[in-house]
């Protein structure tokens, strides 16, 4: 896929920055974090601005953005620490909706998503992770029944699952173990939902199915097509979350750099202390690596081989989460007492970085061996 032209991209970036500045002023956001949090507050605005349309093909009413464009957009949005499920819905679930078996149904579903009418999120389908909470039944399993399917099992800590209108539930078929994807309206799903709050204010939930009957017409994708759509969605999730983390790091480096240059102790700016200078340099270096890794993953998703995409996902997981932890925690430390206040945005970026690290980890397979790096000429 080819990236959008630079003019379109700069318009998108400007629009997103304006959105963040207008709606995600730090004090306003802090006010909003008082429960109950309205996670849909800006959803219609995001739809109107075309943010939700970004990753979809033009035939589906989208802007035709590729993975690189999405990553660039998410990186801009990162500044705001948004509390709407943009990535979960438009990027991740959207990618499965766009890949539906029935082209008309796909187009209709994507149109609803782009219009902001419906929030859809993916439930289950984590690579390499067993589902199920301690004592619970385990992975999501779909068993064939007379009228359709019986769904059983638990998906853990699913982002925005309690706020969605619709789920794309990824399960194993009990007979073949192959994947299957159902599109279920949450309200009538019959699932048990336990919502909880994450450290950065975002929402997640455990979704538990106890032999819930699912009608045959809820089937969205099955077998290889389901498997491929789920994996593609996971890869896109990792890419978008990495871009988000890189955007947060960029903010922290700017804020912390400014602080080092302005905070005076012992009659000099604290940035004049070599003990902090070298660590700030380290923070910047790991940020650059993370940014490069995030870019290279996005580019790979736009044209690389699947095996290469998987490896880049794992590399991004490793580098971006480590960099995020370092940049987040060092930024707090270098702000001294101010760094640990709720009022200053610094600790909120750290909490977002930690949450993102969890999400990235949840979407990447660890069962991987490095490819022979010397032969992957395209990426050298």
């Amino acid at each position: 896929m080819t990236p959008l032209d630079s003019e379109t991209k700069s318009i998108i970036a400007d629009t997103l920055l304006r959105f963040v500045d207008e709606n995600y002023d730090a004090a306003k956001r802090r006010e909003r974090l008082k429960p109950p949090i309205d996670y849909r507050l800006n959803w219609s605005t995001l739809a109107e601005l075309g943010v939700l349309a970004m990753p979809f093909d033009e035939e589906l009413g989208g802007l035709g953005g590729c993975a690189t464009d999405t990553a660039d957009a998410v990186r801009v949005l990162a500044k705001g620490l948004v509390l709407e499920p943009v990535v979960e819905c438009a990027v991740v679930a959207g990618s499965i909706l766009a890949a539906g078996a029935d082209a008309d149904a796909s187009a209709a579903a994507v149109a609803e998503l782009i219009g902001g009418e419906k929030i859809t999120v993916k439930v289950g389908g984590r690579p390499g992770l067993l589902s199920g909470r301690p004592g619970d039944a385990g992975a999501l399993v779909a068993e064939k029944s007379d009228t359709g399917w019986l769904l059983h099992g638990t998906a853990r800590a699913v982002m925005y699952a309690a706020e969605a209108d619709e789920w794309l539930v990824i399960a194993h078929q009990s007979e073949s173990d192959a994947a299957i994807i159902f599109r279920l309206p949450c309200a009538e799903s019959g699932a048990e939902v336990q919502q909880f709050r994450l450290m950065d204010g975002q929402s997640a939930a455990d979704i538990c199915f106890h032999n819930v009957a699912v009608a045959a017409d809820k089937l969205w994708l099955i077998d290889d097509a389901a498997e491929a759509a789920n994996e593609r969605a996971n890869l896109k999730a990792v890419s978008a979350y990495c871009a988000d983390a890189v955007g947060c790091m960029a903010q922290l480096l700017e804020i912390t750099g400014t602080y080092l240059k302005t905070r005076v102790q012992f009659g000099v700016t604290i940035g004049s202390f070599q003990a902090l200078q070298h660590r700030f340099a380290d923070m910047h270096m790991v940020y650059l690596e993370a940014r490069a890794m995030s870019r290279s993953l996005a580019e790979c998703l736009d044209g690389g081989a699947l095996s290469e995409q998987r490896w880049r996902c794992f590399s991004a997981l490793t580098m971006v989460t480590a960099a995020g932890t370092k940049v987040g925690q060092e930024s707090i430390q270098m702000h001294g007492g101010m760094g640990v206040t709720d009022e200053l945005i610094v600790s909120h970026y750290n909490s977002r970085l930690l949450t993102l690290a969890r999400q990235i980890r949840n979407a990447v397979s660890h069962d991987i061996t490095p490819p022979p790096l010397m032969t992957a000429r395209r990426w050298i």
């Binding site: 003990a275 709720d342 949450t355 969890r358």
Partner: protein, 400 residues
Amino acid sequence: MSSANPGIDFDEEAFRAEVRAFVASDLDPETRKKVENAIYLEKHDFVNWQQALARKGWFGAWWPKEHGGQDWSLAQEHAFLQECALNAAPMLIPYGVNMVGPVIYTFGNEEQKKKYIPGILDNTTWWCQGYSEPNAGSDLAGLTTSAVLDGDHYVVNGTKMWTTEAHWADMMHCLVRTDKSGKKQQGITFLLIDMKTPGLTVEPIVTLDGVHHTNQTFFDNVRVPIENVVGQPGDGWKIAKFLLSRERGFIADTGNKLRMIGQIERAAMRYLHHMPPIEQIKLRARYNELSAWLTALVALERDNIHELLAGRDDGISASVLKVRGTELLQAMTEFWRDAMGPYGACYDAENRQSGLGLSSTEPWIQAAGVNYNYLYGRCWSIFGGSNEVQRNIIAGTLLR
């Protein structure tokens, strides 16, 4: 055993057993449950525990006999603190018993001793510490809150930052500037201020864990009687240095860490088998390494006590323990988050107000306790002299 350990003048095993038994019988079970489960502690949890210790004669037992203590050695104090923490007693609030108390019995006059020592030892007075200011953190001597003599009162103006638990306090021990003319370390005075004095206001600061522990305190023509100066005007810096050196004595806080590593192990074991094999291997290896680090920290803390009891003081041991102890704490809490698997990012301060906390069967509630420890854990490398300042002390001493 006492002969093998220089300066250890008590039967450590028997004493530890006695402390354990006392914690088991006299710590309010509600408080213990809160500590064990990382539930928010209220003022009365601390006060009740410290009063129970006072009744037993153990609160401030490490003070000299003449001031109401029992002359415990460092080794005995250490065994006591470690055993209390291991058995889920709340930390001792230091501002009275370990800070202003020793200052008053060392530098104060007879009236001050009579007036303040009883309230410290029986826990009827809650003290807070007003040293840091918005522009005087690491550079404490840069403080500017002023106290100007007016008849038999000092008139205090300015602001103190990070006055922890000032909202619970009856009294503050405060560093104020009484003279601007000399070097900045000169002209600082140690002043005791009644929190109810007109013109003194306390504004909450909420920290990253969503909790109100600390405050900013404002002084608007606060009149403090001249007899509330400890030592002489201008002695403040000397007194602060005396006090801060004591603050870091048992900073490694190994009792709590030993208890925490057990909690971490239980959490890790609970979630481990839900993780892919390679994650399991990595987590197990990290757990072992953290346990080894903790083993070394405990040994280091003991080593230091022995050195100090033998009369050897390298001048940096408190700084070393502070840096290594707080960094281990942070590594432990980071590991703990990771061991929670998909629930590692859950945090809702509400879930720490009451309830089962860490022993909840609901992982997102358990995670509130874990992430509280992680989030508040970030403070440890900042307060009490940041880890950077400690490293400056260490390197400065070694390279002098």
